[in-house]
């Protein structure tokens, strides 16, 4: 029993964090020339060069052969920096292609030459659509890659950092389809990891602002109304992080019984990200509702990640019906 990142695991976190501070600071979204499509293309290339999408795929398709735990630690950092959805779609998409026997496609996904978009739960919205040649569609335990033959109809997405398109009927052709509950659970873990990153950034930003911003001649962080909100954010972060790590390790070591832990991790991470992102805006006050602040980006991305698999109500019912979480 050891549930806190070890030195080796911390190295993965630190190395990724260092790269992302240089390559993808959140402040990049305050520059007028930054746009979602070019960011997606640029960071897909950065990620491919650093092996992000292939971190946990076999070495013979260009992957890093690491475990789901390492992958979760990586994606938590990516989530913190609002990295393109194509990275996560690529990481799962490569596994889908591989398991469907399409090794070449898997290799080109890992290498960043085949860009994967991500279908929202409704099936009619494609996220990260600008450069996408395929779309990852997760439906229960079924994972599909759909080939995007026609250029998708671009629309303005809720999340300004993600290119978004409408996909009409009939749905694009399925080129790989596998049924694999463990891979579906892995998708949930990567969603939870990125939501966790958002919940943590929201707390960090709130605490930093509460120390800086003065009203009534004092930093607002000295007012209990603000302090107690921050304390509650910290609890949401701590519980979701511990559960995320627990669930990731369970997926690696006890795959037969990990479902409950992963559903719990996804639920707690969704709650932590959504509520912390919203609270962060309130703590910032008026500046928090403007585009001169990252608050709205965190909130919108937290909503995006929550709509990739089942809605919260379904998650909660599944948790109630599951056998009690073991390990």
């Amino acid at each position: 029993m050891y549930l806190s990142p070890t030195d080796d695991e911390q190295q993965i976190i630190d190395a990724t964090a260092q790269t992302l501070v240089a390559e993808a600071p959140i402040e990049r979204w305050f520059r007028p020339q930054t746009n979602a499509a070019s960011e997606e293309a640029r960071l897909l290339a950065v990620g491919a060069a650093l092996g992000w999408m292939g971190i946990a795929t076999p070495a013979d398709i260009g992957g890093g052969d690491a475990t789901i735990v390492d992958e979760v630690l990586l994606f938590r950092e990516l989530g913190r920096h609002l990295a393109p959805v194509n990275l996560m779609a690529g990481a799962i998409g490569a596994q889908v292609a591989l398991q469907a026997g399409k090794r070449e496609l898997a290799s080109s996904i890992v290498a960043g030459t085949a860009c994967i978009g991500l279908f929202a739960n409704c099936g009619s919205i494609l996220l990260g659509s600008a450069g996408a040649r395929y779309g990852l569609d997760v439906d229960g335990d079924a994972l599909m890659l759909r080939q995007l033959d026609a250029v998708p109809e671009r629309t303005q997405g809720l999340d300004w950092t993600t290119t978004t398109a409408r996909i009409g009927a009939p749905a694009p052709t399925v080129i790989c389809r596998i049924e694999n509950s463990l891979l579906a659970l892995r998708t949930r873990l990567l969603l939870a990891a990125q939501l966790q990153g958002i919940a943590e950034v929201a707390l960090t930003q709130s605490v930093a602002y509460a120390k800086l911003r003065e009203q009534f001649g004092r930093p607002i962080g000295s007012f209990q109304a603000i302090r107690h909100k921050c304390a509650d954010m910290a609890i949401r972060v701590e519980r979701a992080r511990a559960q995320l790590f627990f669930a990731a390790v369970a997926h690696r070591d006890q795959p037969a019984t990990c479902a409950f832990q992963i559903l719990a991790a996804q639920t707690l991470a969704e709650d932590a990200a959504r509520v912390n992102a919203r609270t962060n805006i309130f703590i910032h006050g008026a500046i928090g509702v403007t585009t001169e602040n990252a608050g709205h980006l965190l909130l919108k991305r937290s909503m995006l990640w929550a709509f990739v698999t089942d809605p919260r109500a379904t998650l909660l019912e599944a948790l109630a019906d599951a056998p009690p979480g073991g390990v």
Partner: protein, 430 residues
Amino acid sequence: LVLFFKKEQRKESLLFEKRSKNFCLFWFSPWVAPSFPSGARMDVSWSVQDDLFRVEVWEWLLTNVPRDKRPPGTAGSDFDRAWQRKLFDGGWAGINWPAAYGGRGLTLIEQMIWHEEYAKADGPPMGLMFVATAHAGPTLIACGTEDQKQTHLPRILRGEALWCQGFSEPGSGSDLASLRTRGRVEDDEIVVSGHKIWTTGADKADFQELLIRTDPTSQRHRGLSWVICDMKSPGITVHPIRKMTGHAEFASVFYDDVRIPLTNVVGAVDAGWSTAMATLGFERGTAFLAEMVAITMKLEQLMDVAKSIPAVSGNGTAWDDVEVRRAFGLRRAELAGLRAMNYANLSRYARGETPGSESSLVKLYTNDVARSVQELALDILGPNLLDDAGRYAAWTKLFLDGIVLSIGGGTPEIQREIIADRVLSLPRSR
């Protein structure tokens, strides 16, 4: 951002080191901080030794957990002593206390396993032994003299000494450092005068962990002393106070020139604040493991109730209501998160980190989850709860106890203040 965060973390840990040097707070787990070999990774499985230990615990509990219910309130004091004695005879007292003082000398991991199996076996609450085993004992191990340890620790483990706590005063609740009960040093004695309150089990306790102001010119947390007070000393008067649960476990304690030997000071004279913080750290660090496991068991029991009891709406069982099922799902997720949080903290302690203010997060969250489970019980049981001697009376008791427990050891509001100050380093509000 990440760099900023790391810088803040480093600042926090430096601050913490400074603080822990001032305090006599250190962790006494005999676990040697493991140095990780290259390739070490997080792990949530139990070792073979852990599993063997679990079986050993389970088998012992199966034959030894008392069949009789603990009498409620302070009437349970003899029950508490007898059960502690039985634990001691079975080798289960002070699982992570050093063997030199009669403990098992095991790690916090084994302590955790014990709590899990104990709750599953429906072991009785520790009752009035709680302060002795979860507060006073650990504090003496960390800060006491050899003589104090030899005198008190074995007696605690054998169930011969019940302890109570004397921290809060009528004017000093959340603001503990404002306390005014005075201790005048006269030769080799301290003469105590004043008034403590919310002392659970004062009328049955043999000893008290008593926090007093020994330097009359001092302010706030300076000039306090943590002393062992013999509750049979002349000059002590106890007035029981009845709680909303119906039991008079609380008391006001009056001190009228009570003489306490100077050798009973734990830590140094006038340096009692650091001893007191160690005491609260122990309470907040691991004392809530048992509570966490107990709530988990309660939630599963409540699910069984929901599947059999008619819905308050009159249609089918409570379980047929999708809102009820979702409420169970959310609480299960929250309890999973709480367990993982406890495991994560234990892992860090096992690696040699000192329990710190993060334990306020665990205390606050444990109480929150407990209350949300208890409120769900209200929704499901409805008017059944109005019969306080009926089939579901235990749930009413649990609901009321949940509120009492949330306030004991520091209100939710003061826990949030501690988190804001010490975990998040926000500017002080006071």
